[in-house]
Amino acid sequence: MEFKTEQTEGVTVMYVREDRIDANNSEELKTEFHRLFANSTKDLVVDLKEVLFIDSSGLGVLVSGYKNASTLHGTLKLSSLQSQVKSMFELTRLHRVFDIFTTVDDALHSYK
């Protein structure tokens, strides 16, 4: 799984460069979360603009990251959900748990 990460005013932005997050690759995302949180990241925005498909394994890894961030008194926020991904968050009610933004800029603005 490919990622691009940037630091903006103390917030880490992770761009997921895959069209799917499923049971075949979700562990790679989990490993990347662990790496970021172990390297002093507290506040993380995960941009899912390129992700067209997610399954319950992918949702589970995002939940895991959310809980890791909370344990560190930080946050994990999401941006740019495509229609299938948005539907899965709504189906599993996770849209009530996560802070979800239309764009990365909107997500970053929420920290100000």
Binding site: A23, N24, F53, D55, S56, S57, V63, R96
Partner: protein, 142 residues
């Protein structure tokens, strides 16, 4: 025009085949006689159902040996969509799987797959037998 479709696929028990099974499901949905907007929703839902069902067979039915195979049947008949996923693993008790927690307090990483299947399909059954197990799902698409 009759619109009956019956597809049988046998694949190795490995998650690397998820993308392929998803694509097949989307193609099948495109051939179903129904309004365009319904077809698009059905295509997306069938992709999810096949993925969750296959992962269930591979991971949760204890069929993790990649030398084993999973058999997937997609059938459209008389206004119903049937998906059957056959595994040769140890199986599991469908009724013993609880609903996931819907709040951040007590929220688990796992346990949403069966809930998703039950939400998207009209019926979900897991039938166990000595010769293997089958996850049987039906959805009315009339």
């Amino acid at each position: 025009m009759k619109n009956n479709i019956n597809i049988d696929i046998t694949i190795p028990s490995h998650t690397r085949y998820l993308r392929m099974i998803t694509t097949i499901g989307e193609k099948v949905a495109q051939e179903i006689n129904c309004p365009e907007e319904v077809r698009e929703t059905l295509s997306s839902q069938l992709a999810v159902v096949l993925t969750e069902g296959l992962v269930n067979a591979i991971k949760h039915a204890d069929c993790t040996d990649p030398n084993k195979e999973v058999h997937v049947q997609i059938k459209v008949s008389n206004g119903d969509l049937f998906v059957r996923i056959y595994d040769s693993g140890a199986g599991f008790d469908l009724e013993a799987i609880p609903e996931p927690c819907f709040t951040s307090c007590g929220m688990e990483d796992k346990g949403r797959g069966i809930f998703i299947l039950r939400s998207l399909m009209d019926t979900v059954k897991y039938v166990r037998s000595d010769s293997g197990n089958v996850l049987e799902m039906r959805k009315n698409i009339r």
